[in-house]
Symmetry: C2
Amino acid sequence: MNYFSSDFKLGILGGGQLGKMLLYETRKFDIYTLVLDPGDEAPCKIACNEFYKGDLLDFETVYNFGKKVNVLTIEIENVNVDALEKLEKEGVKVYPSAKTLRTIQNKGKQKLFYVDHNIPTAPFSRFAYTEEIETAINHGSLQFPFVWKSTQFGYDGQGVKIVKTYSDLEGLPNVECIAEEMIPFKNELAVIVARNVSGHVATYPVVEMEFHPEANQVEYVICPARIDKETAKKAQLIALKVSQAFNHTGLLAVEMFQTQNDEILVNEVAPRPHNSGHYSIEGSYTNQFEQHIRAILNLPLGKTDSKVGGIMVNLVGEEGYEGDVVYENMEEIMQMEGVTPHIYGKRKTRPFRKMGHVTIVNKDINEARKIAERVKNTIKVISK
Amino acid sequence: MNYFSSDFKLGILGGGQLGKMLLYETRKFDIYTLVLDPGDEAPCKIACNEFYKGDLLDFETVYNFGKKVNVLTIEIENVNVDALEKLEKEGVKVYPSAKTLRTIQNKGKQKLFYVDHNIPTAPFSRFAYTEEIETAINHGSLQFPFVWKSTQFGYDGQGVKIVKTYSDLEGLPNVECIAEEMIPFKNELAVIVARNVSGHVATYPVVEMEFHPEANQVEYVICPARIDKETAKKAQLIALKVSQAFNHTGLLAVEMFQTQNDEILVNEVAPRPHNSGHYSIEGSYTNQFEQHIRAILNLPLGKTDSKVGGIMVNLVGEEGYEGDVVYENMEEIMQMEGVTPHIYGKRKTRPFRKMGHVTIVNKDINEARKIAERVKNTIKVISK
């Protein structure tokens, strides 16, 4: 198959911002692309060759779309997996595979998968319904505090809750869920593993998510993570093990906790380009989007090292603002050294909505960290 | 004016490969874009918000297109300047200016401009018609050898010829032209200067064009140039002087000769992103396309330093092949360290047609040079 000719077609399920950044790279290689997305204003609309509007969870829609392409990938996990399974049987190359997506889509199954494959993860219990949790507590088989997680997608930010008392359970949807032990972690880390169709593997450096001390929100993604080499090596090896366990093709972003004893516990994975790899556009020899394309097209993988240190700051809507977006002090941050804003093009802001990100690169990661803080304190995503 | 909102519109004259790479950057900043190009298969077609098909040299077409936008730029110099002049008068921001384009479009005027502004350039004579050259030689006011150059665009590679004897003059079009002294240069260099609307200036490092020893064709563009610091400094200062002389807004690529005595002579300029700056996509803190956008939108200019050494190899059609293009050994070059191909998406190849470029980055420029040679010797642009 010749990817560098117009008779090859790549399909992407989801036409959001990740898809858009993926499409930049397909342009570089001149790959013909088709995108399916339910939105009228999908960011991918003006960057692909053919755009189709449709429901990503509808069997027929996904199946019919998939029949048009040679290779099918995703930029969002929440798609109809039955359709992918049928497409695979009919010869379409689907990366990530239907099997992997089915496991990942259910957080309970995902956790069991780690246990089955001897991959360290936080202890947990699985429940068919949230209401069963109370019984478990009453019987002494579960103790406060724990993290409640809905196993399914689609609760829009309400899929995770820290539960410290009975009253925290009130109002939670009565769905399939897990109760996970709270890990008082030292660091939250992530490693992106790329694996191409032939099984060649390349691992990106470990990145560190730095949290706001009060808001408990990721403020900075820092590459390389400011951790010791041994822990970094361990994290990369575990990420590699996860990728191999899934027999995964494409990118796999593995989110992990570094415990107080420097143990590594896998939290969850994303089988696609990931927020934790955005720094790579400016920081790495091969950015994560180009690498994903290389992997799923079975091209040789590119070098995953960093050219320079990189920090990513998410641009989210300020609290108290809703409506037509304004980026306040954009020019001020563009004056700072090594700063590149990425604006996602969403017309409306609302509190905490992801509106873009900013990358700060510098040969000295500590210098980058200082500039990142200035960026964070300067730019404001507000409304008119 | 808020560039980061949909009521701002940027127009680009020309929808070729340079425009396409420029459009990647407008996506990053979410800038609304309109493109005018005569071609049905213009590479920009799928990367802009609105595409218009039309003749770039037609007054009405360019004028009507320009009226739709706030800022108008070019990716090709050969456009209708009268229309740009009228648009400027009516308040459209045009970068580069009509005045600059008018000077650059005529190589005779361009050379006179250098003389008028005390910018070193190779000695030359100007002729209204090629046939006058013979008279000048007969009268002893011009000596062989010299470089004949048509002053106007549009001779498709036939605008320049080295003339050593009378017979070399045969067959040349009888048009306005210059006869330029042949410079036995040590190096051909280029410097890109960025200047924003407020007049802030940033200069990229000097790059070096390395020629094939026999074919007299640029084989590699190398950044940084392997020249002494003093000469580099001199080249940058002269480039800066040229940018200021033009009162230029946007990017100005200044091509220069380094003579045997390490003098710098300006050869010609391009008032836009340029082939000599393609390395910057992978090599620089701020790539030339992002920088051009920053400059013409009067945003702060980005850092022009390199993260790593960069070399660009042009991908041109092999001699003896014409038709549907095939990129032979593409996977082999993608296996090499720090190699990124950029395929322009032209369906048909023909001898020496520019079909793409390949960038090689490495912390060690000598190592990059070795890999570049392997790339050059491996990939072949042929036909089916």
